[in-house]
Amino acid sequence: MSYSHKVIDHYENPRNVGSMNKEDKSVGTGMVGAPACGDVMRLQIKVNEQGVIEDAKFKTYGCGSAIASSSLLTEWVKGKTLEQASQIKNTQIVDELELPPVKIHCSVLAEDAIRAAIEDYKNKNHS
């Protein structure tokens, strides 16, 4: 199987790799894993008082497509409101990265990760 040049670009130059303090109230953390391949993904967002995502970081252990999916997603969510970010669909990632059918689950994982991060942020700030 060959990767698209976009996947290779994100894999070789991943954007926003790193971590944030998950105890920080303005940080939402999403941890998800894919049992099929053992991939693990952590996606974090920093949200300002206006509900806009100021920064995003990720760490992914998995194949090139999983890394590229999470890297792309961190780029996309920056500057978006939580509402806008929660509307991102895995199919948009599939289209952008030209993922083959066997790698669609990598994009599902990224979508689940951002949802989990948003959920975590909301839980922290509405209690």
């Binding site: 998800v32 894993g33 693990v40 760490k59 252990y61 689940d112």
Partner: protein
């Protein structure tokens, strides 16, 4: 799973249970293999030979499934009608995933360690300990027909199997160097 496929436990004349007598399983496997060997019908018709090959493949598949606690657990759940959507399933137990991430980090940073072989051995031990623990829990859940909880454990065991294989691969690479 096709409906006409015989139950693997029936095939080996074993009770449908998470607990399997592995010696008995291996013994029955050898017997079945001997009786179904395609060479026995080498002079038979095309149909006979094709059926013999199919039967040998089925016996092999059943044996591999029943002897692995992970695959056996998964098979028992499938017999109960549980469906495993591997392509879309995600695990969200964050404590479990943190440990996975930590282990992945340990593997990734191995070559910076003074004694990488020692680190990888400790990692393999830690994974095995966790596997044994989850397999015991899985046995309990299956026995108590707590299928949805059992399914979560099957998925977790799949993660463990994957990282265990990677750690073993790394161990092999390290041993080649020394």
């Amino acid at each position: 799973m096709a409906d006409n496929t015989p139950n693997y436990f029936t095939l080996f004349d074993l009770p449908v249970s998470f607990h399997v007598d592995t010696e008995l399983l291996a013994q029955r496997f050898r017997e079945l293999q001997r009786n179904a060997h395609p060479d026995r019908v080498a002079n038979g018709s095309d149909r006979e030979r094709r059926l013999a090959v199919q039967q040998a493949a089925l016996i092999n598949q059943a044996y591999q499934t029943l002897r692995s606690p992970l695959l056996r657990g998964r098979y028992l759940l499938e017999l109960q009608g549980e469906v495993f959507n591997d392509e879309t399933a995600t695990t969200v137990d964050s404590a479990f995933l943190m440990e996975q991430m930590h282990w992945r980090e340990t593997l990734g940073e191995l070559r910076e360690q003074a004694d990488p072989l020692d680190v990888v051995h400790k990692l393999l031990d830690a994974i095995r300990t966790r596997q044994t623990q989850l397999e015991n829990d899985l046995a309990t859940y299956v026995n108590q027909a707590r299928w949805s909880e059992a399914k979560v454990l099957v998925y977790k065991l799949q993660f463990l199997q994957r990282i265990y294989q990677e750690a073993e691969l790394t161990e092999g690479e390290l041993l080649d160097i020394h």
